[in-house]
């Protein structure tokens, strides 16, 4: 308490600039007078009495210094004084100040920007209560290559009753037709078990949530809607509760509106933008009867019992899995090696961006370090120019510690000014920067300039201030007064050590920027290789437009119940769309057939049962199928290798047929002809599908993965609901969406038409994540290169300046100007080569770290490792040439007279 009060009084004094030196003076006078009086009484002469009194009092200077210190806050006062002084000196050299501040602003601004993204995505917990208890359940079948295969309802019930979790929720979903408003709308929905919101821990803003105890086997017909949908489609109707919604022709009623700003945790951008949540037990129609296998293609999340660690939960989970395997050996064959992994929910959401984001943070940190090295170099150059000033101060009695503190506060001021400029620029360009971030980044909405980001900025500001301030302060520590003063500002100001420090900085800068540039070149080459990948399909002049047929819970409400019923619709849509201006070819397929533009949910995984090979269903490999109309292959230029493709005679009543790609034939029918073989794709019905043709591999799944086995089924024999209409020709991309909508809705006015895109756009988008990190890294690398170039330029100019006199003498003695040029260039090249050597070694280590993000190039790509150092040396040559030329043109007379 007491010290607090004391500091309070002192702080108030300090703030009010109140000082009471008069009081001490008066007290001292009185004190001395009284002591003198007493000494006089003891019989001393007046002079002696006074002398003894003063002696006894002690050093007046020290006393009043102590007294003054106690009055205010001396450290703070000193700091303010130093800062004022620093600001004054900076104002006197605006060029230096601007360069240094801009360099720091760039470094700190960029680092803070990247950190704010890292902070929002990786560091902040998910915005739900007790986020640590949330896990995703991942079912794997490593024995037969199954990853995240989903869960069955009996398994869900086992997990619910296991005591490991407070809640377990199953999550399905996709998009659904919302009709009733002005235009049929396609809306993202999630289909969850009724305990979902109890699990997440979020309540609706308006109305009630689902009843977690609800045992309805199928859909409960209750809907929760997002705040956004409520405002957009219902005009924020306060009486929305109990009103009806028509989704895929089924009637639901709204029971609640979620709070504004609530986002579903979600694994894809689409899921995070969910606007309707529906509850279902997944055990009644339209879901199949609850059996252990096959599993439903659902996601599952859970909330752990409070206090249970994820490791403890995992080991209890493992025990549960093995006891279930014993109990139901038919459903869980040992060969499949069923496991359930508990992954922290946050990790499952942001796990795949951790590596690129960490890479970017490291890269921007390197840029900041290079910036610091540059500023340190500038400061060192200034320190040698100011060596005399500092020596004079020291000679006049300034303590070294005090001088070092003053130099450090100067660098701190620089650092803070730079940081303020950097953050101001950042705030000014915030919108622009946010727009650069690809939409697929999870938790994009959480990015903000919050306290932890500002704290981080403060920390790196102080750290950089210390980093680049230490060098000149360290030099000031060991100034030899006599030497500096005797030189009287002539000749060599920088000691050998000083220029050694500057050389070390330049070598470091070179090495760091080399590492960055090599990383950028490696990413660039990966990107280029992906871009140039042989797609296997022709994306030019192709547009896709999506529509979706309703899947009502009541089969009687479905006008497209059978393949034949739907084939009529498909033929009519294709016929009408073909008449649109510019259109040459049309085809139709499902979402899985839409190249590179579908999520995991859009695929149709089938257990592949080859006739005469696979017997039990649950040991069959799983393959993805796309449903397409016969024209699809021609439209996308996917060439037929063997057999035939579909034609219009393949209909519901004829033999079921399929086309496979080359990868599929190679994987599952090695060394034999797959055409004519039969497979069963629906274990419930013993109905065989005959393979009629093999087509070339197309990169429709992912650009990076080569040759994914793919099976194509005929649209007229299946009932695809999630449709993509493909058009090729000289298309008017602006008019097509509306024209297609008219044509489709003239066939069935209840169908939504949406998602019109050119395939080229899709292709570009699928690379956006990679392009983002590559572009930023390339930007950083260029900046680093520029800074390193400036650094070497600064050092060589300085060296030339120092040696002007020497060069003058050499020239006067008859040295060739070319040999002077050579000497200077040699000096610069020495630094650049040393930097390049260190950098290559560091890059060899660092590039292994980014190997996971490379495609088509090895982390030790010889091109990158030869070209980049060469480029760096060219930059160094250019940077050294200017000062070298200046050295060559030194006029010996001027140089000597300068002495």
């Amino acid at each position: 308490m007491r010290p607090l009060r004391r500091y309070l009084v002192r702080a108030v004094n300090f703030a009010a600039r109140r000082r009471n030196d008069e009081r001490l003076r008066e007290e001292m006078q009185a004190h001395l007078a009284m002591q003198t009086d007493e000494n006089l009484r003891a019989g001393m002469t007046p002079v002696e009495a006074r002398r003894q009194a003063v002696l006894k009092f002690g050093a007046v200077g020290a006393v009043s210094e102590g007294y003054q210190a106690e009055q205010g806050l001396p450290l703070l006062e000193e700091l303010l004084g130093d800062s004022r002084f620093a600001l004054r000196t900076l104002r006197k050299s605006p060029g230096f100040a601007a360069t240094a501040i801009l360099t720091i602003a760039l470094g700190i601004g960029a680092t803070t920007a990247i950190f704010s993204v890292v902070d929002a995505t990786l560091l902040h917990p998910l915005p739900y209560p007790q986020p640590r208890e949330l896990v995703k359940l991942v079912d794997d079948l490593p024995g037969i290559g199954g990853r995240d295969v989903g869960l069955s309802v009996p398994e869900w019930r086992d997990l619910q009753g296991s005591g490991i979790f407070r809640y377990v929720s199953l999550i399905g979903g996709g998009s659904v037709n919302l009709t009733g408003s002005s235009q049929p709308e396609r809306i993202q929905f999630l289909n969850v078990t009724p305990n979902y919101f109890a699990l997440i821990g979020v309540k609706p803003e308006l109305g009630n949530g689902f009843n977690p105890q609800d045992q309805t086997p199928g859909f409960t017909l209750e809907a929760l809607i997002s705040d956004g949908l409520w405002k957009r489609a219902f005009g924020a109707d306060p009486h929305i509760l109990g009103k009806n919604l028509r989704l895929d022709n089924d009637l639901y009623h709204v029971i609640g509106v979620m709070p504004a700003g609530f986002h579903d945790p979600g694994w894809t951008t689409a899921q995070r933008n969910t606007e309707i949540w529906l509850a279902s037990g997944f055990a009644g129609p339209p879901a199949p009867p609850p059996v252990r296998s096959p599993r439903l293609p659902l996601e599952a999340i859970a909330r752990l019992q409070p206090g249970l660690s994820i490791d403890a939960a995992q080991s209890r989970m493992d025990a549960l899995v093995s006891s279930l395997q014993k109990q139901y050996p038919d459903d869980y064959p040992a060969k499949a090696r069923w496991t359930v992994r508990l992954v922290p929910l946050k990790e499952s959401v942001v796990g795949n961006v951790r590596e690129p984001l960490t890479l970017l943070l490291a890269a921007v940190g390197v840029v900041l370090l290079i910036g610091c090295a540059n500023v340190a170099n500038l400061l060192l150059a200034r320190a040698s120019a100011r060596a005399r000033e500092i020596a004079i101060r020291q000679a006049m009695g300034a303590a070294r510690a005090r001088l070092i503190r003053q130099l450090l506060s100067e660098s701190m001021i620089l650092s803070f000014l730079g940081a303020m400029a950097g953050i101001a620029i950042l705030l000014g360009t915030r919108r622009l920067i946010l727009r650069m971030i690809p939409e697929s980044l999870p938790r994009l909405n959480d990015i903000s300039m919050n306290w932890s980001v500002l704290l981080f900025a403060l920390a790196i500001t102080i750290a950089s201030g210390i980093i680049f301030g230490l060098a000149p302060a360290w030099q000031a520590r060991q100034v030899n007064l006599v030497h500096v003063l005797r030189r009287e500002g002539r000749g060599l100001l920088g000691s050998a050590e000083k220029s050694r420090a500057r050389r070390i900085f330049v070598v470091t800068e070179f090495a760091l920027s080399l590492v960055l540039t090599i990383a950028a070149v490696l990413l660039l080459r990966s990107f280029w290789d992906l871009y140039k990948v042989r797609l296997g399909f022709n994306s030019r002049h192709v547009m896709s437009v999506r529509t979706w047929l309703p899947i009502p819970n009541d089969p009687q409400a479905d006008p497209y119940r059978t393949p034949s019923q739907e084939a009529l619709l498909l033929h009519e849509v294709l016929r009408r769309v073909r008449t649109l201006p510019g259109v040459k070819d049309v085809a139709i397929g499902d979402m899985a057939a839409l190249p590179l533009d579908h999520g995991r949910n859009d695929l149709n995984p089938f257990p592949l049962i080859r006739e005469g090979l696979e017997a039990p269903v649950n040991q069959a490999p799983v393959v993805d199928a796309a449903i397409v109309s016969p024209e699809y292959f021609h439209l996308l230029d996917i060439s037929l290798l063997r057999g035939r493709i579909f034609d219009n005679r393949d209909i519901e009543t004829t033999q079921s047929v399929a086309v496979i790609n080359e990868a599929m034939a190679r994987t599952y029918w090695p060394n034999e002809d797959a055409v004519g073989r039969r497979i069963n794709l629906n274990p419930a019905k013993p109905k065989w599908t005959t393979l009629i043709g093999i087509v070339a591999d197309a990169h429709t799944e992912s650009l990076a993965e080569t040759s994914v086995p793919q099976i194509y089924l005929c649209a007229y024999q299946r009932r695809p609901k999630d449709l993509a209409i493909f058009l090729r020709g000289e298309l008017d991309t602006a008019a097509i969406p509306e024209q297609v909508r008219e044509q489709v809705q003239s066939v069935d006015s209840q169908l939504p038409v949406f998602g019109a895109r050119t395939l080229d756009d899709v292709l570009t988008d699928s690379l956006s994540g990679r392009r983002f990190s590559m572009e930023i890294l390339a930007g950083f690398a260029l900046t680093a290169l520029l800074l390193a170039g400036l650094g070497i330029y600064g050092v060589i100019s300085f060296v030339v300046g120092q040696r002007t006199h020497e060069i003058g003498i050499r020239l006067a003695l008859g040295a060739q100007r070319v040999s002077i040029l050579k000497t200077v260039l040699q000096e610069g090249m020495g630094l650049a080569l040393a930097g390049a050597a260190v950098g290559v070694a560091a890059a060899l280590i660092a590039s292994r770290w980014i190997a996971g993000q490379l495609y088509g190039v090895r982390p030790t790509d010889p091109l990158a490792f030869l070209a980049v150092p060469a480029l760096l040396i060219v930059v160094a040559l250019l940077a050294c040439y200017l000062p070298a030329r200046r050295a060559m043109r030194v006029n010996p007379l001027t140089a000597l007279r300068h002495e």
């Binding site: 001490l24 004190h31 009284m34 006393v63 102590g66 007294y67």
Partner: protein, 115 residues
């Protein structure tokens, strides 16, 4: 001549408080003289060092001060103990007694006591 001890860090403030506690309000010179007197002239005290300590104690609220007139009609600043200061003194004194007692036991201990 007797060897004089330096004033140990922190003890000067306590001496000031105790002096004011025993003798009531005093000016700076008075405090200095009394401390010398009480310590039996064994302390090497630069009298001036007292003033920053007095100011610190005043900032802490342990003492208060005001201008007054000395016995020889000189204008001087008089310091007195506040009730807060008295509490501080008592607490500190207990601590010193305890420390002294503990140290005393260590100095007095003989090997036979510890069998």
């Amino acid at each position: 001549m007797k060897q004089k001890t330096d004033v140990k860090q922190g003890t000067l403030a306590l001496m000031v408080l105790r002096t004011l506690d025993v003798l009531g309000p005093l000016h700076g010179y008075g405090v200095a003289r009394r401390i010398e007197q009480i310590s039996g002239d064994l302390l090497a005290l630069n009298q001036g060092t007292l003033y920053p300590v007095l100011l610190k104690l005043e900032h802490e609220g342990a003492i208060a001060s005001e201008w007054g007139t000395s016995e020889n009609n000189r204008r001087a600043r008089f310091y007195r103990l506040t009730s807060e200061g008295r509490k501080v003194l008592q607490a500190e004194r207990r601590e010193w007694d305890q420390t002294a007692a503990i140290m005393g036991r260590f100095f007095d201990v003989k090997s036979e006591d510890l069998v």
